[in-house]
């Protein structure tokens, strides 16, 4: 009885105190551009293939491969974006692919005893080793030193979906996701990669990554 009273009293005192303090909700650790190093490698979980020889998003993980981060981005981009699209669309895609990979590099997961950053399926981004193409490599190298972040420079997950062809895909802007077909639509109209990113990710900003050069 005495213990309960003490606890109640302490709780009351704390609640009285917090009335006068600014509210700081508990949150996961955030990573800021400038104080977070550019990743050199990324851990990619390789999932078992399905009957058609394609990695199965629900298949068991066979092993985890550590891959050069630049190479990872270059082997993802032609599988996510279409290599013959305008360069502005590919550059917007290159920034999205890189920021998505970087975010998950900072937030690894453990599944089935394997700790990894991303897997090689559409659970994260579609990765096929040795599938890089010249046009998409060029787009990645052009934007390698750029990051698209929150106003306080926090690295966040730039998500994207296919969307619809010949359409600006406004609904994806509302969902804070880039539409890939939408990026192609805007690039064909002459928009820059920054304008495309600003259309889909509202209230974010483009910054230069300190110490990271173009390829």
């Amino acid at each position: 009885m005495r213990l309960i009273l003490t606890r109640t009293g302490a709780a009351l005192a704390i609640s009285t105190l917090t009335c006068f303090l600014p509210i700081q909700p508990a949150s996961a650790q955030t990573y800021i551009i400038g104080s977070t190093g550019f990743p050199s490698t990324i851990r990619v979980a390789i999932r078992q293939n399905n009957a058609f020889g394609e990695p199965d998003p629900r298949g068991p993980i066979i092993y985890v491969s550590t891959i050069n981060f630049d190479q990872y981005c270059q082997d993802v981009l032609p599988n996510e974006w279409y290599p013959t699209w305008p360069i502005a669309s590919l550059e917007a895609g290159a920034i999205a692919v890189k920021m998505f990979g970087w975010y998950h590099h900072l937030h690894p997961v453990t599944v089935g005893g394997f700790t990894f950053d991303v897997d090689n399926t559409v659970n994260f981004q579609l990765f096929r080793a040795q599938s890089d193409q010249d046009q998409t490599n060029q787009a990645y190298q052009n934007t390698r030193n750029l990051a698209y972040v929150m106003p306080d420079k926090t690295i966040f997950e730039l998500n994207y979906r296919a969307g619809y062809e010949n359409n600006p895909n406004w609904q994806y802007r509302n969902a804070q996701k880039m539409s890939q077909w939408g990026s192609q639509y805007w690039a064909a109209l002459g928009r820059t990669p920054l304008q495309i990113l600003e259309f889909y990710y509202v209230n974010r900003m483009l910054v230069t990554i300190p110490g990271v050069g173009k390829g």
Binding site: G53, P83, T84, L126, Q133, D134, A162
Partner: protein, 208 residues
Amino acid sequence: MIMSYFPVQKYKILIAASIFVTSMLASANGLLVHGALASETKPIVTPPKQSDQTTIPPSGYVPVLPDPHYGMLRVKVLDGRTLKPLPDAEIVLLETEKRYRTDKLGLTPWIKAPVLRSARFRFLVNELHGQLTLISYKNGYRDSIHMGVRMNDGSPTKTTIWQYKIDPTADTRVEPVLYQEPYHRLWLIKLADRFRRPSQLGEGYEHP
């Protein structure tokens, strides 16, 4: 005053009438193209000019057989286990039946290769890329068949073939290795959307 007013009105009426007739003709022509009025009036068919034959239609589909498009292709051959380049492997491009050899870096020269888009899906969803088939041969290695190599129209394409060394103790039955390169996911999504009912939610407006 009255004399000067009427000619102006007359011209205005004439201009309006000519615009109306022109727009009607244009819309009828548009319908003729789509076949809606084909049974009612006979369209005037003019033979296409030489330059018109390579014009890309609004659908984006370019029939490949009479006028194939080409892209540049370079093949890299690697040892599937050591991931080191394989020199002196012979690559056969089945669609042209031409043969190429890899250099010290395991690379073929740049090959002018046709962009062949399957006619199966022509009227449903146009394929975004052409597809080719390659076979790689090298003594001491399993033959490697590489199907569905994505050929991008008008831009260079790189692809990699993995060959596996034959181990006489372990490989008792030596047969070719097949790798089927998948369709691009953007095209697969497009194909699925083509037949989706409004009630069947996918990547729709309701859930972007």
